[in-house]
Amino acid sequence: MDDPHLYDFAPWRGRPKLVWPGGRTCAVWVAPNLEFYEIDPPTHPRRKSWARPHPDVVGYTHRDYANRVGHTRMADVMSEFGFPGSVSLSVALCQHHPAIVADAAARGWEFFSHGIYNTRYAYDMDPDQERAIIRDSIATVEAATGQRIRGWLAPALTHTVNTLDLIAEAGMDYTCDLYHSDQPTLAKTKHGAITAIPYSLEVNDHYGFFIYNMSPREYADTLIRQYERLASEGEQSGTVMCIPLHSYLIGQPHRIGPFREVLRHIANDGRAWVAKAGEIVDAYRAQVPA
């Protein structure tokens, strides 16, 4: 396969003008990943869960830090500056640590599915297996929070060629898995178009700290540069900036202080429409129905 035909080509130059509420130029959404990684997951034939034999003590407990310490530290800073989360949720967190999910719900955050566990991969699932994890996700989040999830970020970013069709079939209307633009676009499915909302690998805290080896202050500077450029270009046609986070990373004590200054900067700038994923999708689809 050369081209999965996910969407139509559209050049950045000369795009139709998107406008955001209040004339803001950049829609900013924060996407905390609230995850659960299993200590002893079954083996997937195509991907290892852990670098070390189980238990991978550092790998597992580093992630565990999120659910003991990091989440609240990160969430308090977000709440301080009025940033709601749009949560990429390992839905089994609803069973393992319901208090964390309840905290996010109480802050008014939106949830979308990031699979059952971040140690269970979708590669090689047949459509019925993938339907099962989609149904499980919808039912689990609805039971825990009352919210009907609208979006999907594939578990550990593992896909099948059916994924977009199957989430559309289940009634979801956005995907966070496509990285081809700084604006929302339409993604094609067998069940009509859904919205591909820009998530981000490049300014994801995981990439910042573990791919690019940035210091906390360098990462904060990166986010501000990303924001400044997108807010400026957004005068031509509204842009989207996502800040994807993992509280076992951004919630570490040497990182949260510089990150807090990023949120202060964006909140005080005046050009940012701070929103949840579903709100951005709705504003986009009001301008680009299909």
């Binding site: 034999p53 580093h62 310490v69 609240t72 640590h97 210091s215 202050r217 004590p253 949260i256």
Partner: protein, 309 residues
Amino acid sequence: MTLNPDYLDYPRRREGYDHDLYDWSEIRNRAPVRWPGGRPLAVWPCIAAEFFPLTPSDTPFRAPGHMQTAFPDYRHYTARDYGNRVGIWRLLDAFEVRGIRCSVAMNVAVAERYPALLEAVLSGGHEVLAHSTDMNGTIDGSLSADAENAIIGETRARWAALGVAPKGWHSIARSQSFRTPDLLRAHGFDWTCDWVNDDLPWRFRNGLVNLPLNHELSDRQILNVTQASADSYATQIGDAADWLAGEADASEGTGWGGRLLALELTPYIIGLPYRIGAFEALLDRLIASGQCWFAPGGAIIAEWSAAQG
């Protein structure tokens, strides 16, 4: 290809963890800890004193920092030896001139080979933490129960022959098996530090205490892995200290409380001439803040245990 249907079974999907080793709690919901002198932040310096045999072992895995070239790797053998001959003395001097007591996680082979170093650590009032036999003494889940038991038992016996009985254990690379917490109890250890999930100590169900030795704040991670400068290291640790102390300070009525800043120090990394000055300046900055209680791990655990009621 279709995945095995079992792949969608989740037998440990339940409230709490997917294991029975320890229980979950959120740090903000625990009884607040107060450190001596009302200081909000316990700072735990933990030096790694390591002996790398010239012939490395890959069973079950080769330790970080071990030999890299074809035999004989004199380059890394001697560069690591620098840590025990020079780097650790710089660190001990930096602590002693400032009245700071620390932990030293020592391969028992270091203590046997360099009695002057062991003597300096003990007479300086520092604490010895067992750190396996030597840097070939790695443990992980692929090791047999007998082999793992032998490493921990041999380490205990060789320390006993030196008249030292460490209460704490630090595995090489923080690598343990599912059996390790029970084996450590069986060999008379009270605590470990390899499980890096918290900014306070906590207790395994079997009674063993874990004092998390943050790997992200280790000199190896910041200086070697991310290749930051010594000044950046000092800034990052300073930022961490400020945040943790502030969080602890804000604890009245919010559930926050005293916090732990664990500093893993590797003599051949942080103890180099062009880095040690930045580290000494960091210590002075932390002292001047008035927020820090510097202590060995065992003393921090004792204070924390007393606060558990």
